[in-house]
């Protein structure tokens, strides 16, 4: 599935990056060291961290996209870095649990 379809199916708002890239699998968490160890290439990363270190880790692990849950919004410098690194950031008012359930139903 690509980011564009994901956005549509989950009702997400995109705030940075493009929507052409493919995503598969998901990691949920807010600690950088754990995300660094456990994110896999192409993963959807659901977090409530909004600072630019999220983008640095997502880029380094080649995550497919970041979804900020619970209505979190990225900091301005996180947004700028996401544009520069080409990391899609999507935002949602839904909880990580709801988002994960929906991702599961779509077999992402």
């Amino acid at each position: 599935m690509n980011v564009s379809e994901l956005k549509e199916k989950l009702g997400l708002t995109q705030v940075a990056g493009t929507d052409a890239g493919e995503v598969s699998g998901c990691y949920i968490g807010d600690l950088m060291s754990l995300a660094m160890a456990r994110l896999e290439e192409g993963n959807v990363w659901i977090t409530i961290q909004t600072n630019l270190n999220v983008v640095a880790v997502a880029a380094l692990k080649e995550a497919g996209c970041v979804i900020l849950a619970d209505g979190a919004e990225p900091d301005a410098d996180a947004k700028a870095k996401a544009e520069a690194e080409g990391i899609p950031i999507l935002v949602s008012k839904k909880s990580a649990y709801t988002l994960a359930k929906e991702l599961g139903a779509l077999s992402v």
Binding site: L31, M32, S33, Q49, L60, K61
Partner: protein, 140 residues
């Protein structure tokens, strides 16, 4: 070892906004060299954790990367406060990170254990008030 490729990178101690940039640069380099993805993954994790540690615990420092056909050697040198109890610091979950830094998602106390896990050799040389040198090898 003397005929390997060597690179040196300074790490800015106050600049959170650039943390991860050196890791990212080295990762691209290793990709270009066509190294196995698993080796690149391990190096990226080690470099990121060490780079972040230098920023949050030691006011920056220097990273030396040496690539030979057999291995990648990563040396992280800083002039920070040093580590009083290495055994404790190596335990999963142990962290002296400040509240501010934890709020950014750091301070899980998994950095050093992750560095150990992803390397074939890891040596720590530390002196209180002088600094720390971490010397790691990832075999190709």
């Amino acid at each position: 070892m003397s005929n390997g490729m060597k690179f040196r990178y300074p790490v800015d101690g106050n600049d959170f906004t650039r943390a991860g940039e050196i890791s990212s640069k080295v990762k691209k380099q290793l990709k270009q060299l066509g190294l196995p993805p698993e080796v690149i993954r391990r190096v990226a994790i080690i470099m990121y954790e060490a780079e972040i540690n230098m920023v949050i615990h030691a006011n920056g420092g220097t990273i030396d990367v040496e690539i030979t056909p057999e291995q990648i050697r990563l040396v992280f040198s800083d002039t920070g406060p040093g580590i009083p109890d290495i055994e404790k610091a190596m335990q999963e979950g142990f962290s002296t990170a400040s509240h501010e830094v934890r709020e950014l998602g750091f301070g899980a106390g998994m950095g050093l254990p992750n560095m150990k896990k992803n390397s074939d050799e890891m040596k720590i040389d530390t002196r209180i008030g002088v600094g720390t040198i971490m010397d790691l090898i990832v075999k190709i």
